[in-house]
Amino acid sequence: MVHFVIVGILVLVTAILTYVGLDMAGIARHMNPVSASAQSVSIDWLWNWEVITISFLFALIVVPMVYSLIVFRRKQGDNTDAEHVEGNTALEITWTVVPLFIVVIFAYMGAYSLGETLRVDPNATVIKVRAQQFSWTFEYPEYGIVSTELHLPIDQQVVLKMESTDVIHSFWVPEFRVKQDIVPGRVTEYRITPILEGNYKVRCSELCGTSHAYMEAGVIVTTEAEYNAWIAEQVAIAAASQTPEGQGQILTVKNGCAGCHSLDGSAMTGPTWLGLYGSDVELDNGSTVVADDAFIKQSILEPNATIVSGFPSPSVMPPYTFTDEEVANIIAYIKTLK
């Protein structure tokens, strides 16, 4: 009996210490990173209860184990067996039924918390998201603008209608908690209500190929006034870019070209566009060509026709179908990158 009392006290002390320790590490009551969406509130609430339960169950198993190892260890020279106890049906039933009870409670809490994250605001703003290897594009259909950064107003629900042009990707902003895969051939929805201003990042969290690690984009949560200012600015830029190179730039943003082709000269999954036009390009078959209109057009429409030396063969670039005018606009844009 004394053993049970001591172990009982030790279990409680260990459980509390474990929980306090985890809480101090920032993974219990206030889960890191900061919670920045209305949806994350019920997730963090459930998580905290789970940490409490984990701390208790951890102590409940480990404390009697360690206690037995110390107190009931075999004494030197004692070769006899221990007391013959085969089992105890009442105990077995207890530790089947009580956990079942706890599981039912967590099943309820889990379903409740999931329901909270799915709450629909009928007035939610629609933003179209396009994911492609290895970039994100955000389209605001109300205003006809396209951006490589996601700007969101605070305290308003937005619904992201997400599509992928190639493989499966996943939309995850750790501060928002919620994660949703984007499957080619269908539109998946993602509802979020930002509640904290700040600069976050959406990070693709479903392995999508070579540069998966770098498939990130800025997510900027601002006040409504700042958001509206940004929208107005983007609308003005879109209106001003009726030139071929302006149209070309919009096309490259829409199609996420900069996910693989840098604009600053660094080598990414594909060759940089900086200073590309008119330069001598070395191919992997050893020959050299001049990057003129014909070469760039062929490279866009048939990525596998030629491979630039040092880049993967066969090419990982998906084939695009552009009209002749669109290709000409893109080339006009590339010409400006010197």
């Binding site: 993974i27 890191n32 990173p33 997730i43 459930l46 984990i54 951890f58 198993i61 009697p64 184990m65 037995s68 190892l69 009931f72 260890r73 075999r74 004494k75 070769n79 067996d81 221990a82 007391e83 013959h84 106890v85 085969e86 089992g87 105890n88 105990l91 077995e92 956990p99 599981v103 967590f106 099943a107 809490m109 889990g110 918390s113 999931l114 994250t117 190639d166 493989v167 499966i168 996943s170 995850w172 750790p174 908690r177 994660k179 949703q180 895969d181 499957v183 080619p184 051939g185 969290s205 392995l207 999508c208 190929g209 070579t210 690690a213 770098y214 080598a267 999954t269 040092g310 993967p312």
Partner: protein, 631 residues
């Protein structure tokens, strides 16, 4: 040396090479003749040629080793003796075809250890790359086996997963093959030829898997989700083939175990008097025998999509990428119970021996293994909470997943009750048993947050999951596997492994492992995604990752110490021919090493297996007194 050159293993490998040339050659001839097809690819053969070559290579390997020899003779009407005399002695037994379950068990174990070393080496390579943010040596402008740095990272990371899975499957087969017939009092497995076949087919499977590294690799992770896997280099196909072939080993091996347990138990051994490990072996075999087909099938569908343009998972052709995930996880979730149930069986089997007390609640533990196996079939879609499958489907899968906690909890409570008021000693096998319980507990406790959908939306595809499943696999397989090797090593060799080295192994590996998985879970919560070659330095993970890398190297060091101890003790270990652990189990009632056809006299079960402390009780009684009885 000459003996090695003429061994079945080397003959098989030579024939496997010929098989690739023959299969690939046939396809290439057609492609040269037929118009509109490009005959060769970036790796010599074209993709279809590699696939047929790889497929034939496995068949050629098996015929080359001679493991199918008796069947071919029977088909031609030639009789063969029921038992083969052992032609080989010493190490030669293990590189040639043997029908003895003990030899096959050791063959499985050695190959499992080899694969663990290879898979571990891959992990060290990419763990080193992760030690700091930015790309260190797997850089974009390097090129190896047709892959640049990040591609190679993905290949190594993906292969680490699958190589380890195969090594676990072979590891459990090793222990089950060696131990189960001994525990049952059987002379061998029910189907000795199929048993040998199950082992030998795993060798070409491992070769195919490793070949994928040299054929452009693949960047999909072990899960191989299409459409990404439909676009990956030709290495992807070798991966599919390797898994497909390895699956045969699992299915046939499991069938053999079930028949052996049903048909070949000693007199008096009714179901509730079987050693508890046998229950675990049966539970695991039921899953392996009935679920493995699904992973083979799902990979085969992608293979056909690539080769023949069948759009099973191609949305442009009306296919559905999410369907693949259902098929894949229908095996791959139950598979994790295949990995852990035998390990939990080892824990239950060894605890009473070292606590000198009966196993607390034998029936409950036996039934909990079956319970886990059955519930395990109903939870697969909890891997798909974010996948875009029907939103409402997520709730029933959350409920079924949480149910797994119940039978698992029964095991933990029963283990603690077994230890309570025991007379506990802690030689190396017991240390690994205890370590296994604690590590598996951490894996188990970090499971429910992934089961409740809303928290999983945050945790899915992060390092939290990576930490969680490494805990379950180390606690459920790696620790018990080492415990089993230290424990049954004297039975197989007549010598025991060095205790001091064993303890160094344990005390080096266990704390390092805690640091590794706790660190993984911690940064996972903070936003570290899984399967990335590089991470944003702004996240501030650099120092944690460095610690994780150091922990990884310490684990590798401890395993090296084990491997040295293992091979050194075969020759130089302290002699241990008697009942070293003072166990009641039948295999320890006869001298070690175990003779060729196991027990000279059959035994009868006359009591309960774990009645330690019950005066005058015995588990088994031999028909005639055993000549050389050790205490």
């Amino acid at each position: 040396m000459k003996k090695f050159v003429s061994s079945a293993l080397l003959k098989g490998l030579l024939w496997q090479f010929i098989g690739i040339l023959v299969g690939g050659g046939i396809v290439e001839i057609f492609r040269v003749i037929l118009p509109d097809s490009e005959p060769f690819g970036p790796f010599g053969f074209s993709e279809p040629a590699w696939v047929l070559g790889g497929f034939l290579s496995a068949i050629f390997f098996l015929v080359g080793t001679g493991v199918t020899g008796d069947w071919i003779k029977w088909a031609r009407g030639i009789d063969t003796p029921e038992h083969h005399e052992e032609h080989y002695s010493g190490w030669e037994k293990y590189v040639n075809v043997s029908l003895d379950h003990k030899v096959i068990g050791i063959q499985y174990t050695i190959v499992a250890l080899a694969l663990i070393s290879i898979g571990g080496l891959f992990a060290l390579i990419f763990r080193t790359e992760l030690a700091a943010s930015g790309l260190q040596f797997l850089v974009t402008d390097m090129k190896l086996f047709g892959q640049n740095g990040p591609q190679l990272y993905n290949t190594l990371m993906s292969l680490h997963g699958m190589i380890m899975i195969v090594s676990i499957l072979l590891g459990i087969s090793g222990i089950i093959n060696y131990v189960v017939p001994l525990l049952l009092g059987a002379q061998d497995m029910a189907f000795p030829r199929m048993n040998a076949f199950s082992f030998w087919i795993a060798v070409p499977a491992a070769v195919l898997l490793l070949m994928s590294l040299f054929l452009g690799g693949f960047d999909t992770g072990w899960t191989a989700y299409p459409p990404l896997s439909a676009k990956a280099p030709v290495g992807m196909q070798m991966f599919f083939l390797g898994v497909f072939v390895a699956g045969w080993s699992s299915i046939l091996g499991a069938l053999n175990v079930i028949v052996t347990v049903v048909r070949m138990r000693a007199k008096g051994m009714n179901a509730m008097r079987m050693p508890i490990f046998v229950w675990a072996a049966v539970a695991t075999s039921i899953i392996a025998m009935t679920a493995t087909q699904l992973i083979g099938l799902s990979f085969q569908l992608v293979m056909f999509q690539r080769l023949l343009g069948m759009g099973f998972f191609d949305p442009a052709k009306g296919g559905n990428p999410v369907l693949f995930q259902h098929l894949f996880w229908f095996y791959s979730h139950p598979a994790v119970y295949v990995f852990i149930l035998p390990g939990l069986g080892v824990i239950s089997e060894l605890l009473p021996v070292f606590a000198r007390k009966p196993l607390f609640g034998y029936r409950w533990i036996a039934m909990s293994s079956l319970g886990i196996a059955l519930v395990g079939f109903l939870v697969w879609a909890h891997h798909m909470f974010t996948s875009g499958m029907n939103e409402y489907l997520r709730v029933p899968f959350m409920y079924s997943t949480l149910l797994v906690a119940i039978p698992t909890g029964v095991k933990f409570f029963s283990w603690v009750a077994t230890l309570w008021k025991g007379k506990i000693s802690t030689p190396t096998p017991m240390l690994f048993v205890l370590g296994g319980i604690v590590v598996f507990l951490l894996g188990g406790l970090t499971g429910p947050p992934n089961a409740t959908v809303s928290t999983d939306l945050h945790l899915h595809d992060t390092y939290f999951i990576v930490g969680h499943f490494h805990d379950t696999i180390f606690g459920g397989f790696v620790f018990p596997f080492f415990a089993a090797l230290y424990y049954w090593f004297p039975k197989a060799t007549g010598r025991r492994m060095n205790e001091t080295l064993g303890k160094i192994h344990f005390w080096l590996m266990t704390p390092s492992f805690f640091v590794l998985t706790f660190g993984m879970m911690y940064i996972g919560l903070l936003g570290m995604r899984r399967r990335i070659a590089d991470y944003d330095p702004a996240l501030g993970f650099d120092s944690t990752h460095l610690v994780l890398t150091v922990a990884g190297y310490l684990i590798a060091t401890s395993v090296l110490i084990f491997i040295y101890n293992f091979f050194n003790s075969i020759k130089n270990g302290e002699k241990a021919e008697g009942n070293v652990w003072n166990s009641r189990s039948p295999e320890w009632q006869v001298p070690s090493p175990m003779p060729m056809h196991n027990y000279d006299q059959p035994f009868e079960v006359v009591g309960e297996p774990y009645d330690y402390g019950l005066e005058g009780s015995k588990y088994v009684e031999f028909a005639a007194p055993v000549a050389d009885k050790h205490k």
